[in-house]
Symmetry: C2
Subunit: 179 residues, 2 copies
């Protein structure tokens, strides 16, 4: 397992082609491709993706982005944290610890981490020490965020947010609809 | 089709039980259940969910939330818009126009709409007049947002955001890792 090297991925046509094998290929990758094709970004500019190669094949990846303290709505007190998304290992390479290695790499920065994974990956994230964020509708909408905190860091406390948020905003909607 | 009535759903044990049939049951519903069980919210308080019943069975649903102008990062000029999420029709009832009816209901408020659907529902959203939001990494992260705009409303213009965001933030990460 020590040979699994996590590498910072750069934006180039080869990597963008490899990304197409991953299920969660989407707007982010398309936007990188457009920017590269139109020369809006230089070839091999740093991307937010980190990955692991097996030989010459990219077999696992994730995105990491450092969110500034001023935008933190998850931790107490507000602080810098890492947003982690698109963690994915190609089907043929699963069960070999690649996902764990990537998450351990993210943890090594010793910053709190937030991710909004797919529902059926809950077991993996629990094993990695992540816990459910206290749900806040205005903040989380349809996502199911999980957080990991280094020692001494806590989640923002819960507040009984449902009554206020919904009644204020949604009553307005209903009035408009009927009027 | 005219008999498909879209109803505002309220939070009660019956509805929360019906929600369990939907694939995207998650933190939001669990939080409602906890709030109801602990009497933090009253029974039958308004929820952000709207649904369609076939007889006595809830067969389709979505959440709608009105986002204030001050939090709008999608439209130009910034304005109130609706966030739409968890649009879902139960498998046995698909192909009958329930999804279309729900989205048409959301459109009837004549506010711009933003949603971040699953990748494989792209065709449906295009048919409904939604288009891809211009990707902005800091704002969109791993989501693939789509927007619908009433006449005269436009998306926020794109900016070449990739170089600045990534180099500033991610270089810092790399330095920290190596240091």
């Amino acid at each position: 397992m020590d040979t699994m090297k996590v590498e910072r991925l750069t934006v180039n046509f080869k990597t963008l082609e490899e990304f197409k094998q991953f299920k969660h290929y989407g707007n982010q990758e398309l936007s990188m491709l457009e920017d590269l094709e139109s020369n809006m970004v230089e070839n091999n500019i740093l991307s937010p993706f980190f990955g692991i190669y097996f030989g010459s094949a990219l077999v696992g990846r994730m995105s990491l982005y450092k969110v500034d303290k001023q935008y933190d709505h998850y931790f107490d007190p507000p602080q810098q944290y890492l947003e982690l998304w698109k963690l994915e290992v190609l089907p043929d390479y699963r069960g070999n610890g690649y996902g764990t290695r990537l998450v351990d790499f993210a943890k090594s920065f010793n910053l709190p981490i937030k991710t909004s994974p797919l529902i059926n990956s809950q077991g993996f994230w629990e094993k990695m020490g992540f816990e459910k964020a206290n749900y806040d509708m205005q903040r989380d909408l349809g996502t199911n965020p999980l957080v990991w905190t280094p020692d001494g860091v806590h989640q923002k406390p819960t507040k009984p947010n449902i009554p206020q948020n919904i009644q204020l905003t949604e009553t307005t909607i209903e009035q408009k609809q009927e009027g």
